[in-house]
């Protein structure tokens, strides 16, 4: 019984991590209708920035995390203004080709600068190991992930639903022309949202180095996972991707534990079943836009 809870706990942590990594993509793909396959590259940037700060410059881990967010967001902002902006109106194929090209460039660049072997971030001792909670093994690091990601999710939902910026964003997405007519600066809203999504990916990348491993191939290896989260979750809100991430995280961990031989197939099976049942994802809009 206690094992069940440990598995559940690990699954939730994994799912939360997937959510933080992928929710930026849910925003660009779902809200802005832009296919950004290079999303993982921003996550990798955040991871490497955190690794360099902690390992080489001796920053404390918790100070490096926000900086990973800020730096990735800044990179995202710059790229949005210089490159992405020109592709909003282009076809999806153009967007795919552009962003996949960006992925390969980022892989080669990191490989050249940092080398191709895996990078680890030196963690404070307080985050290492596991403790027992009524017989359930709780990993400290995974607990921290759940706490951080949980808070983030709540904050995101509040921003989208309650703040003026949130309503502007929703308006800009629902009907850009009307939004512009009402005096909303739509390109600015999109730029800011894009940067925020990149920042979240960067934070996710920094957090995931310990669990998923960080190497130059990160954006390619995890692209599929991000896309699964977004397709399964649907793209109308962030609740969908959130639930999808949890479902996939728990499904993946439990599947690998209980049926190790079938382990790698479990999340794909979940995906196929859900997409047959609801082709637009769990919380998708009925009409494709």
């Amino acid at each position: 019984m206690t094992t069940l809870f440990t598995i559940l706990f690990d699954g939730v942590a994994y799912g939360m991590l997937l959510f933080v990594l992928a929710c930026g993509l849910a925003v660009t793909l779902g809200l802005m209708n832009f296919v950004n396959l290079a999303h993982g590259a921003f996550a990798m940037a955040g991871g490497y920035i955190c690794a360099v700060l902690v390992n080489n410059s001796g920053w404390p881990f918790f100070a490096a995390l926000p900086l990973a967010f800020v730096a990735s967001a800044a990179i995202g902002m710059v790229l949005e203004r210089t490159l992405y902006r020109h592709l909003y109106a282009r076809s999806h194929l153009d967007q795919v080709l552009f962003s996949i090209g960006l992925v390969f460039m980022s892989v080669a660049a990191i490989d050249y600068i940092m080398g191709s072997s895996r990078v680890f971030i030196k963690l404070p001792a307080a985050l290492e190991g596991q403790f027992d909670f009524f017989g359930v093994g709780i990993g400290r690091y995974r607990l921290m992930i759940i706490v951080i990601c949980g808070l983030l999710t709540v904050a995101l939902q509040l921003i989208l639903a309650r703040t003026r910026f949130g309503s502007r964003l929703r308006a800009a997405v629902d009907d850009p022309r009307a939004a512009i007519g009402l005096g909303i600066n739509v390109p600015q809203v999109f730029a800011f949202t894009f940067a925020f999504g990149c920042g979240l990916a960067g934070l996710g990348g920094a957090l995931s180095a310990e669990i998923l491993g960080l190497d130059p191939y990160f954006p390619l290896k995890f692209m599929i996972y991000f896309l699964i989260v977004v397709t399964v979750g649907g793209s109308s809100s962030i609740t969908g991707p959130f639930l999808a991430s949890l479902l996939l995280g728990i499904g993946d961990v439990a599947g690998k534990y209980y049926v190790p031989k079938m382990g790698p197939f479990v999340i794909y099976t979940i995906m196929i079943v859900i997409l047959i049942w609801r082709p637009n994802g769990l919380f998708g809009r009925t009409a494709a836009r």
Binding site: T3, T6, I7, D10, Y14, D111, Y112, I113, M114, G115, S116, S117, R118, F120, E128, G129, Q130, G137, G139, Y141, E210, I211, L212, G213, D215, Y217, K221, F222, Y225, D252, V253, A254, G255, K256, Y257, P260, K261, G263, P264
Partner: protein
């Protein structure tokens, strides 16, 4: 930034070597096509082999038996399709006399038919699946085979109070090789396998598999993951508290590659593995080798580096024996049965199988001068590849 410095150093070394040899080599050169992964997940293998060969040629000069040795380096990123194409280009266009390297088993297998057809020796310096040398009469191996180390650790575990073992191996040919030979010897020695998990090769998270290991409460867990994943594995092993629940790590030495060992942290302490080489091997030759390697590349050599170092040595010695004749059949004949003292210890090439015969050492991870090393404490002498002696 470390890498950039290394590249500069290496580039400097090459430039120096080029400058040292005037263009008087009008004698035809012996060309060696070196195909290793220099990019991608297996890049550390390629870099080590390349480094070791550069070091050897710096130490021994680049001329042997009147022939100038020329290395043509190609990167296959460990993708067998690339390996095959590159091998073909090297043999047909560059007219190389020898192909060498091969970071992973599928790469070595992809090149084997070409070696047979062109009668070009294929020196395998890294890949470790047993069958490779059987695929062509022109394959000679200077690395190791996984059954070599896995059977030994199986015997050792059964004799040293380990009764129940859970296994965790990567699901591809070398992993299955390691598992099969370990199992056979451990069970024959009276041990019991309580849990058997194969993890996918591209595996992001070990957590669920490790939890399964923990719940099956073994005395030790047998682990084989490819060289690059060892660090990630040990981190999660410690995170899950397996080190504290008394489950020891045993296995072939790939997990505890010297290349990565020192970054694994104290969780690796006490892990017992069987392998062909440790940077802490206490021989004079090895001390000199490690010192020279560290000086040149600012890093510790791992077993892949030794595979490359011995591989180029084998080529040099074979050329000496044939008096500079680089035809494939003569080189292979010269290589068969060759014996020498390597940094890893005494080794030889089995004249029947063209595979390496070497000592396998049982080692334990300990702290030496503040760094983690595999310290050898038992030796099994002149081990042939058990994958072949069976037949």
């Amino acid at each position: 930034m470390f890498v950039r410095r290394q590249v500069l150093l290496a580039a400097g070394a090459v430039a120096a070597a080029a400058a040292a040899v005037p263009a008087c080599a009008q004698e035809e050169a012996v060309k060696i096509g070196l195909i290793v992964p220099m990019t991608g997940g297996q890049a550390s293998t390629g870099r080590q082999i390349d480094n070791a060969i550069k070091l050897y040629m710096q130490q021994k000069g680049d001329t042997v038996a009147g022939k100038k040795i020329e290395i043509i380096l190609r990167d296959d990123a460990a993708v067998p399709d690339n390996t095959k194409r590159l091998a073909q280009e090297l043999i047909v266009n560059e007219k190389v006399n020898i192909i060498a390297g091969f970071g992973v088993t599928p790469a070595a297998l992809a090149a084997a038919p070409l070696a047979t057809q062109a009668k070009v020796p294929e020196i395998v310096m890294a890949a470790g699946t047993s069958i490779i040398t059987e695929r062509s009469p022109y394959v000679v191996r200077t690395s190791f085979t996984l059954p070599q180390s896995s059977t030994i650790i199986g015997d050792w575990a059964a004799k040293n109070g380990i009764k129940k073992v859970a296994t965790l191996t990567s699901d591809y040919a070398p992993g299955n090789d390691a598992l099969a030979s370990f199992k056979e010897h451990f069970v024959a020695g009276g041990g019991e396998i309580v849990e058997e998990v194969k993890v996918p090769l591209a595996n992001p998270d070990f957590a669920p598999f490790l939890q399964r290991m923990k719940d099956s409460k073994p005395d030790a867990m047998f682990v084989f993951v490819p060289a690059g994943q060892g660090g990630n594995f040990m981190k999660q092993y410690a995170e899950r508290g397996l080190d504290k629940s008394g489950i020891r790590v045993i296995g072939p030495g790939d997990v505890m590659d010297d290349d990565l060992l020192n970054n694994m942290g104290d969780a690796a302490l006490g892990a017992v593995t069987a392998h062909l080489y440790s940077a802490a091997h206490p021989s004079q030759i090895n001390k000199e080798f490690v010192a020279a390697y560290k000086k040149a590349f600012n890093n510790r050599p791992g077993f892949m580096a030794v595979g490359g170092y011995d591989g180029i040595h084998l080529i040099y010695e074979a050329l000496k024996k044939t008096g500079g004749d680089a035809t494939g059949d003569k080189l292979i004949a010269a290589m068969k049965g060759m014996k020498w003292e390597s940094p890893r210890g005494p080794i030889s090439i089995d004249p029947e199988t063209r595979d390496i015969v070497q000592n396998i050492y049982i080692r334990k991870v300990e702290k030496v001068d503040g760094e983690l090393y595999n310290v050898e404490f038992a030796t099994f002498e002149a081990v042939k590849d058990p994958g072949k002696t069976k037949k």
